[in-house]
């Protein structure tokens, strides 16, 4: 098995599509064969449409989407079970799908015999047979390994499958929750082991309905809708978009556009016009010292009649963590009615009591609720700002907190963001 070069992607999908032909009766298929493909009495179902994707080493990627979005098809294409109808799937290294290992089991055979059988069937003989003793120990099944698998409890069955999985020395693990295997694994608290595998440098790709698992485990997430790849981003954004679409009753109407570094999605009720970042004096700026005030203005246009839109702003660290956010709703600021076509602008003044680093800004317009379900528009990363730390390196960390420190003899020093402790001019008129 080729292990490939360390830096190249493990899996590369290039404009992959998968089309299923649906025949109403077997006779129609005979008709297609008989006419050498000239007659086409079938309907086509496009399960995946023009999906391009790369999986690098060490990534943990969550695949989100509703039922029928194409998650299982995507995973099967990646694990090599299905062939694409168009485009290319390139694999480098060993891809092992979790559902494979359990399905290869023959209930009449013993645990040991099943390890051997799965190893030979999946051509993992070399690895699995070499590490046979370790696997047997890892399962903690003891003498049960000599009994037929049909006598196993579900938990034992999962243990055996998981042990094979963990020792297969794969470069990429594929876990499909849609088929129930994932569910069992998560119920069996295998999340820790998945995390451990991910940390040891193995890539993991898993589909899930459980956005919180995706957010907790993944370094990246993708969102599929009706076979199309809508988003390929940090899990925070993707799960947000997924949750937005999830509550739509007549199917999600995601409208995702990706520009230079920013991603926009929403249901189309609001259009994003522009945004600007300035310093306290109103001059455009993108670099600030800790404690400086930034003025962030965002401008939108209503595409439908809006009643009390709710505008939010969030600041994210380069790890995607939301370091701060607020919305007009949380501040009891009613924005009033906007007929379709009317533009509106909101300005945020924020004192950047932040540690050194680069931060990205995200804004959104949603319905006027504390936890909005309906998101009109979400503009991720419309701008990036740089925050510099103290010149004298007197403190460090993610936040710039005003502080003082007192010595035993009573001498003290003050520090923190350069405006220092006390009332800020920010709130002055």
């Amino acid at each position: 098995m080729t292990r490939g070069d360390r830096t190249s992607p493990l899996v590369r999908l290039h404009a992959v599509s998968k089309v299923y032909r649906l025949y109403d009766s077997p006779w129609q298929r005979l008709l297609t064969w008989g006419s050498l493909g000239r007659l086409r009495p079938y309907r086509e179902f496009r399960a995946l449409d023009d999906v391009s994707l790369e999986v690098a080493r060490g990534e943990t990627i969550g695949v989100l989407g509703r039922n029928g979005a194409g998650k299982t098809t995507l995973l099967r294409l990646i694990s090599g079970v299905l062939a694409p109808s168009g485009g290319q799937v390139l694999r480098q290294g060993r891809v092992v799908s979790l559902l494979e290992l359990g399905t290869g089991f023959d209930p009449e055979l013993s645990g040991h015999a099943n390890i051997e059988r799965s190893a030979q069937l999946l051509r993992l003989d070399e690895v699995l047979l070499r590490r046979r003793a370790e696997i047997a120990e890892f399962t903690e099944l003891g003498d049960f390994l000599d009994r037929p698998v049909k006598t196993y409890s579900l938990g034992m069955y999962v243990r055996l499958a998981f042990s094979l999985f963990a020792f297969s020395e794969a470069d990429l693990f594929v876990i499909d929750e849609a088929l129930g295997v994932g569910d069992i694994f998560f119920q069996q608290k295998c999340t820790d082991q998945i995390r451990a595998m991910a940390e040891s440098g193995t890539s993991v790709l898993f589909s899930s309905h459980d956005w919180s698992a995706v957010q907790a485990l993944c370094t990246r997430a993708i969102l599929l809708d009706r076979g199309r790849l809508l988003m390929d981003e940090h899990p925070t954004e993707v799960t947000q978009a997924y949750r937005t679409g999830l509550h739509e009753t007549e199917g999600p109407r995601f409208d995702v556009r990706q520009g230079s570094g920013s991603t926009t999605f929403g249901d189309g009720a609001v259009e994003f016009l522009e945004a600007g970042v300035a310093d306290a004096a109103g001059r455009p700026a993108d670099a600030f010292a800790a404690g400086d005030t930034a003025v962030i203005a965002v401008r939108f246009r209503a595409c439908v009649d809006l009643d009390d839109p709710n505008i939010g702003l969030q600041i994210q660290s380069r790890f995607g963590q939301v370091v701060w956010c607020t919305t007009t709703c949380w501040n009891n600021l009613a924005l009033g009615r906007y007929p379709a076509g009317r533009a509106f602008q909101v300005r945020f003044r924020v004192r950047l009591n932040l540690g050194r680093g680069t931060y990205t800004l995200t804004t959104a317009v949603a319905e006027n609720r504390r936890q909005p379900r309906q998101i009109y528009i979400w503009v991720k990363g419309f701008s990036a700002i740089q925050v510099t730390g103290p010149a004298d390196e007197s403190y460090a960390g993610d936040a710039a907190l005003p502080y003082s420190v007192e010595a035993p003899d009573g001498r003290s020093a003050e520090g923190g963001p350069r405006t220092g402790v006390g009332v800020s001019p920010l709130f002055a008129p």
Partner: protein, 262 residues
């Protein structure tokens, strides 16, 4: 196709052995059932056709042993052929559970069926050799050709079964139809009767039957110790290769759709 099968050789051989070992698992006699079934069959034919009724096989001198051996040679080979063809035809549908999730090449599942029944054939033919040795007190030299012809016959069944197995994914009727075809095919091949019993025209027609050459050359070896000519062996090989090529072409043409339908 061949390379993929070669990569899975270990799985295939182990699986065939397991099949023999576990087919009768749970029973008292277990693995011995594999021997008992053909043994009883051979013994029965011997008793019925050498003690109770005699049929003469042309070109043989000893009618008491000739017909039972003739019958055994044909029937045992035919049973394996039937089993291979029947199981290969339904192989994909029966293994749908695996095909849906495992990235294992399709032909492996067909080959495993063919190999398992070939192993059964090896057992029954060894028993026939043993029985011949006992009742006749010796085994003809031409017997060395038996394994070759049987392997080619099974290869022919594999190729045909591969094509039918692929088609059966799309047209499930084939799995049922094959048994009807095999029933007719059995009587179109001189297994339970001697070919000289047939009227000339019919016999002429039936020599087009591809199973004919395999069965008749086996019978001649077993009954009359008559070597198969190179031309006959060549025909056996050509038919097997032809069937395998056909099976491969059908698989290649429809491979991408198999797992979509299962």
């Amino acid at each position: 196709m061949i390379r993929n099968l070669w990569h899975h050789r270990e799985y295939l051989t182990r699986n065939a052995l397991r099949e023999v070992r576990y087919r009768y698992s749970g029973s008292v006699l277990g693995v011995y059932w594999n021997f008992l079934n053909p043994l009883v069959q051979i013994a029965l034919y011997y008793v019925v056709f050498s003690r109770l009724m005699w049929l003469k096989v042309p070109g043989t001198v000893d009618p008491r042993f000739a017909f039972p051996l003739y019958l055994c040679a044909g029937v045992l080979a035919w049973l394996a052929f039937t089993e291979t063809l029947g199981r290969c035809t339904t192989a994909f549908v029966a293994n749908a559970r695996y095909l849906r999730v495992l990235p294992v090449p399709e032909q492996v599942f067909v080959a495993q069926e063919a190999l398992a029944s070939t192993l059964g054939l090896a057992i029954s033919m060894s028993l026939l050799a043993l029985a011949t040795l006992v009742v006749r007190g010796g085994l003809g030299l031409a017997w060395v050709q038996v394994p070759l012809i049987l392997v080619l016959f099974q290869g022919f069944a594999f190729g045909l079964g591969l094509a039918l197995g692929v088609l059966n994914v799309f047209i499930r009727d084939l799995g049922q139809m094959i048994h009807l075809v095999l029933m007719v095919w059995f009587w179109a091949t001189p297994i339970a009767y001697v070919e000289t019993m047939l009227p000339g025209r019919v016999r002429q027609l039936l020599t087009w039957n591809p199973a004919w050459v395999y069965i008749t050359s086996l019978q001649r070896i077993v009954v009359a110790d008559e070597w198969a000519t190179p031309a006959t062996l060549g025909l056996c090989l050509a038919l097997a290769l032809g069937a395998c090529t056909g099976g491969y072409l059908v698989l290649r043409g429809l491979r991408h759709e198999i797992r979509d339908v299962l």
